[in-house]
Amino acid sequence: MWQIVSQVFPYAIAFTIPLLITSLGGLFSERSGVVNIGLEGLMVVGAFSSALVISLLQPIMPEGAIWIGILAAMVFGALFSLLHAFASINLNANQVISGTAINMMAGALTVFIARTMTGSGNIQIISGLPRFDIPILSKIPILGKLFFSQTYASTWLVLLILLGSWFVIYKTAFGLRLRACGEHPHAADAAGVNVHFVRYIGVMLSGAFAGLGGAAILVTYSGEFNGSVAGLGFLSLACLIFGQWKPLGILGAAFFFGFASTLASVSQVIPAFAVIPGIILKVFPYVVTLIALILFSRSSQAPKAAGEAFDHGKR
């Protein structure tokens, strides 16, 4: 049993981390007032850009290629999200439709470019991030084996970003303004806050973080880009709701979903879990989200003005 848990754990974490960072991106966007269901597409852009960059650079400079690729993923994710930002913020477009367009465009465009450059829709990288044990901490009984052994650097990067995000949102002036834009943009506007600017930052952060999420998938467990992130972007939306738009909430939600999904994938192989039909485990995160939506419907902490266009002229 213990063997199983300690073997499954790293996979579960590897699955959770992209979910977490993408969800965090969604948090910044929605907290600023812009609904972003294009997270799926932005993850694809991230996976694609990092795959492309890494596969090109790895033969030449094996040391830095992966991190440059990850950086590229964040940059291109942020850039691609500008489409959504411009449509939602400046043109008052319907944010759900714009997000859907982003998803479709990302999926089609990335494969298009991949095919043009490499002939097939897939891009493979030679190697991903190495796994390592954290000195000292990995020697702690039980916890050490679970959390601090065989970890990826990207995991720690994401957790660092999470901590930083918590700090920014709740302890800085920018965080106060961000939250104000999502709850009552007219109040922020009257107080002299540039709502458009804050929302652009929110959306671009969601693009950068989702891009990082896509890259994380590539360099940890996937190893190749194939045009899709299998619904992880949508699952991170579920995470965001389940976590009630709070950084620590989505940390918990991401772990919860991450583990459920991993169990579903490995359940066939592990006799102990094979009793539970795979279907139950696979649909578990989605069903749980539906239930959470019902339970939270009365007291939802969704940013009040998320999804509404901010029209300067209206009072």
Partner: protein, 503 residues
């Protein structure tokens, strides 16, 4: 004379309408200067320009003698101009302190310095006698305190010139008196105040001078002490205004609406309406007076079926309708002119004729076998348009969203009256309308009463209630606290009962 603010020859145009046409207003130091005009006259637009929310097409602004350009609220703040908005711009789940410092946050390195903020707010609060609880969440404090937070927002930014936009619309009579005191304090400390309002009595009570604006143009600037309310009203509307409505004495008939010990839940888990009993007879108008938020909404919704009744009953024409559906109540002879014409009264994206059959589309002759009969619907709309003088861009096919508030309301009144109801419930029927529309709707309500129908009028405008009603019920904290004959009472007596005094 030194003016702290001069706005000269301001012009501002929006698509299809000139909101400000060559408007000039000036503000002396230490004065309270009122801007009087009907809804839509252009006063709010003018002040939004001063506050940097809009840019004027033509004209100039001088502050303390120097010409300035104000591009956004931040620049207005830097010039010492602050604005208390009519619809408060407060974030509901932030604390009082967080709302005040938003946009001008004191920082300690990277983090917010809430301690320094608290200190400054405390000082301001003491100096200007603005009592607030700095750590309370906005959604939990009273409307009066919310307004004080808005004022503190301005003082925190060292505003010298304060603009108040319709500040008394949401206050109790008590809180209005307190606000007047606060404004006097502020001017004594050297601040200058611009007061946007359409309430003549408050101008008389608080203002030094008054500039009257009508349809975007300045009619004149007067010294308040030397001008009567009648004179100001005439300037505001452009003709002599009759403040009272022509109503003959008449005997009321049988009971058409019998409300028996009605109770309903409010919105925050407490009882909103408590053991309320009232009768309305044919041929009379019963007015319900009360301060906003004292159970009027719960009463109306319980009567019309939009809210569940916890206990008690509603009898219409002898039939108990307490458990009936909304549709059944309409069909039993109850009509409802709702408080919020955009939320409940109309489907804004539907055309005028579609809205006129909103409650009867499924009945002959408007439909047959599940299909709509468009020509009958058209005829019905044409009739209401004619009978009720409803003006619109394209007649029956106009999308109601593009109609003016007054005409939207006339259409709703027309639709409800056309049902020939035995009981007409009219809630805030003249809110936000120009004087012409107000007079028209008052006339129609009295017409209903004269023709032997029962009218239940619920309004926050005490004058309207006193003017139209035969009898007046006063509601406070969800309970009936007084029931008087309109001819035997006056504003003071009713006002005291509204505030919960003199039960």
């Amino acid at each position: 004379m030194d003016y702290v603010v001069e706005m000269q020859n301001i012009r501002k145009e929006f698509p299809g309408i000139v909101a400000n046409d060559d408007v000039s207003v000036n503000l002396k130091k230490g004065e309270i200067h009122a801007l009087l005009g009907e809804n839509g006259a252009g006063k709010s637009t003018l002040m939004s320009i001063l506050f940097g929310l809009y840019k004027p097409d033509r004209g100039l602004i001088k502050v303390n003698g120097k010409e300035v350009i104000i591009n956004n609220p931040n620049q207005a703040n830097e010039l010492g101009i602050g604005m208390v908005h009519q619809h408060f711009k407060l974030v509901h789940n932030f604390t009082v302190t967080e709302n005040i410092i938003l946009g001008l946050e004191p920082k300690h390195g990277l983090t917010l310095n809430l301690k320094a903020a608290s200190k400054k707010i405390h000082e301001l609060s003491e100096k200007y006698k603005l009592d607030v609880n700095p750590n309370a969440l906005i959604e939990n404090i009273s409307v009066g305190m919310q307004q004080r937070v808005e004022i503190l927002k301005m003082l925190y930014r060292n505003a010298e010139i304060l603009i108040f936009d319709e500040p008394t619309a949401v206050l109790t009579p008590q809180e209005i008196l307190e606000l007047m005191k606060i404004m006097k304090n502020l001017t004594e400390e050297g601040k200058s105040i611009l007061l946007i309002t359409h309430k003549l009595k408050e101008i008389k009570a608080a203002a030094d001078r008054c500039t009257v604006i009508r349809r975007g143009k300045v009619i004149g600037t007067v010294d308040v002490a030397d001008t009567t309310t009648a004179q100001m009203a005439e300037m505001m509307v452009g003709r002599v205004v009759s403040f009272t409505v022509d109503k003959k004495e008449q005997e009321a008939g049988d009971v058409v609406l019998d409300i028996q010990k009605l109770s309903a839940m409010g919105n925050h888990g407490v009882m909103g309406l408590n053991d309320f009993s009232l009768q309305v007879r044919t041929g009379e108008i019963v007015g319900v007076a009360g301060v906003d938020g004292n159970g009027q909404t719960e009463l109306v919704e319980a009567l019309t079926g939009l809210r569940k009744i916890e206990s008690g009953s509603v009898i219409l024409d002898g039939i108990d309708i307490s458990k009936s559906t909304i549709r059944d109540r309409i069909e039993s002879g109850m009509a409802h002119i709702p408080e919020d014409r955009h939320k409940h009264g109309l489907i804004l994206d539907y055309s005028l004729e579609e809205n006129m059959v909103l409650e009867i589309y499924n009945k002959p002759p408007y439909s047959k076998n599940g299909f709509l009969k468009k020509d009958e619907i058209r005829k019905h709309a044409d009739k209401i348009i004619k009978d009720f003088d409803v003006r619109s861009g394209e007649g029956p096919i106009t999308i109601t969203r593009s109609m003016s508030g007054g005409n939207q309301q006339k259409a709703i009144v027309g639709r409800e009256v056309d049902h020939n109801p035995n009981l007409l419930i009219a809630v805030q029927p003249t809110r936000g309308l120009d004087v012409g529309s107000i007079e028209y709707i008052h006339k129609r309500l009295v017409e209903q009463r004269d023709s032997g129908k029962g009218v239940l009028l619920i309004s926050l405008e005490l004058d309207e209630v006193l003017d139209l009603s035969d009898r007046i019920a006063i509601i406070n904290h969800g309970e009936l606290v007084g029931l008087v004959k309109a001819s035997e009472t006056n504003e003071n007596e009713v006002g005291l009962m509204m505030a919960g005094v003199g039960k």
